[in-house]
């Protein structure tokens, strides 16, 4: 199909809490991706960066910041900010440039550094700011993850043991990933012994924030053929849809959902709508998916995502988990990178890191984490303010 682009190279700076400038991680990831692709930096015509809002002006213009750090060579630049979907939006910008014929090969890169200390809202009395309101009333980030997790327990019969089993599964496979931050194999007993943060979620059910950087080299299919890589994995679809009114799910940082009281309006669950466009655009269905990388901000959220991706009927993903179907070697492995459980979140790099994992998996280069016969992979993530994305990569 003519609306596909090739992934020629992938690169990541290992996730951690290294305390360096974000540019360093982005440059390391970009250089690894360039070397992996076998494309000289001077040949890159477009640099598409995922912005970080934690690192001052250089972070707001990340595309230019990375281009300067790699050495100005005249490439056009772009910077995308879309919370957790920033990397996918940066990839979409590169895809548009390539499919329009304006450019044949592009670098997509995102990196972040964790803030020093707790990131709290500005003080004063500011009821017009939903983030101020919810913290003032005692509503933190884990509150929202826990509300979703609790619904799984009360509506579907999921258990704390199921949530712990997600952590155990992801830590086992993450222990084999040299780019992961947490590489210890945790047991169900370890999870059960960790402190309750927001019932039913314990400390080990919730992901941390990390430093990290990820990059992709993407090109037209013609450029890939000329480079001798006609079989490089392809981006088959990118969905970055916004929600549809009325959003019926409490979303961070809001204190209330939309109202679906008006005639002709119904309540929607945004997360489940993100993959729909990706499936439609790729002409691929859930039954074709070999593996998925999903945004496990909490262990329970991985189970929600499996249903949002239609890899299991609503309420039945814990059954897949218990049967071992979502583990490496199972029918539909989920988060074989180790997921956010083993990485922690580095916002502008995270969506790209999911695509890096799919790239290595589809090339059969994932080593101990390899999903046998992987043909098609899908990513999914959701962040603040109506940002989310899902990307399908195929052989």
């Amino acid at each position: 199909m003519s609306d596909e682009i090739a992934i020629l190279g992938a690169g990541m700076h290992p996730w951690g809490k290294w305390g360096h400038n974000f540019v360093q991680y982005g440059v390391a990831a970009a250089r690894e991706a360039l070397a992996d692709a076998g494309v000289p930096w001077q040949d890159i015509k477009f640099v598409s960066g995922g912005a970080t809002i934690r690192c001052g002006y250089p972070g707001f213009v990340a595309g230019a910041t990375f281009a300067q750090a790699l050495g100005w060579q005249g490439a056009e630049v772009n910077t995308s900010y879309a919370a957790c979907a920033s990397g996918s939006q940066a990839l979409a910008a590169a895809r548009n440039k390539i499919l329009s014929g304006e450019c044949d090969v592009a670098l997509v890169v995102g990196a972040d550094t964790t803030p020093k200390g707790f990131l709290a809202p500005a003080g004063g009395y500011r009821p017009e700011d939903p983030d101020w309101v919810r913290f003032y009333l005692g509503i933190t980030n884990p509150t929202y993850f826990a509300l979703y997790a609790r619904r799984r327990i009360d509506l579907y019969g999921d258990t704390l043991e199921d949530f712990a089993a997600v952590k155990v599964k992801n830590s086992l496979v993450g222990s084999k990933n040299p780019r992961a931050r947490y590489r210890k194999c945790f047991t169900a007993e370890d999870v059960a012994a960790s402190a309750m943060v927001a019932d039913p979620l314990r400390l080990m059910d919730i992901c941390a924030t990390s430093d990290g950087g990820a990059a992709l080299i993407v090109s037209s299919l013609e450029y890939a053929r000329k480079l001798g890589k006609p079989n490089a994995p392809r981006v088959a679809a990118i969905s970055t849809v916004t929600p549809t009114f009325a959003s019926g799910v409490l979303e961070m940082p809001d204190i209330a959902t939309d109202s679906a009281a008006a005639s002709g309006v119904e309540a929607h669950a945004y997360r489940s709508m993100i993959p729909l466009k990706a499936y439609e655009e790729a002409g691929i269905g859930p039954e074709d998916i070999s593996l998925a990388e999903v945004y496990d901000l909490s262990t329970a959220l991985e189970l929600d995502w499996i249903e949002d991706l239609q890899l299991a009927p609503r309420g039945e993903s814990a059954g897949l988990l218990r049967a071992g179907d979502t583990a490496l070697g199972g029918k539909i492995p989920v988060n074989v990178s180790g997921g956010l459980a083993c990485f922690g979140e580095a916002v502008p790099a995270q969506a790209l890191s999911q695509i890096c994992e799919l790239t290595w998996q589809l090339r059969g280069e994932a080593g101990d984490r390899q999903v046998e016969g992987a043909q098609v992979g899908i990513t999914a993530n959701q962040g603040l303010f109506g940002h989310g994305s899902s990307v399908i990569v195929k052989k």
Binding site: V133, D199, V265
Partner: protein, 144 residues
């Protein structure tokens, strides 16, 4: 609790009577409700209205989901010392077709709650200042 006067923690978001209501707004053209109040533009994509009326929202609903806070949140939250964990609930209002988040009254835990449980809105202290006791809306199981 001292004899200080009661004052709303956030001005104008709820009434102060014994059986309080949250104060929202409603689009006069399509009927969509907003909390907090929205008076400038209607967010229903089928509606271009800029006209709203202030309304008191239903003070009862059913639990959409619930959790608790086991650790002290950061400022601007003002915590008691020592910190006392509290439960939190999102409650679905039938007429308004929306879910509203709030703390659950003191003394209740997640073991006292269930998805679908009928709840009602009450006022309770959030924290004290030198001058007054700041109260806010909280949810409690509906007593028939």
């Amino acid at each position: 609790m001292s004899a200080k006067p009661l004052a709303p923690a956030i001005e104008g978001w709820h009434t102060m009577q014994v059986k309080p209501h949250l104060i929202g707004s409603q689009c006069t053209e399509c009927g969509t409700y907003f909390f907090p109040k929205q008076n400038d533009y209607c967010r229903n994509p089928h509606c271009n209205s800029t006209n709203f009326r202030e309304v008191e929202l239903s003070r009862t609903g059913k639990v959409w989901s619930y959790t608790n806070a086991c650790y002290k949140p950061p400022a601007p939250f003002v915590a008691a010392d020592p910190f006392v964990p509290y439960a939190i609930a999102g409650v679905q209002l039938e007429t308004e077709q929306m879910v509203i988040l709030g703390q659950v009254i003191e003394g209740l835990t997640v073991d006292d709650l269930k998805v679908g449980m009928p709840m009602e809105l009450v006022l309770e202290a959030l924290h004290e200042t030198d001058d007054d006791i700041k109260v806010t809306w909280k949810w409690q199981p509906l007593t028939q």
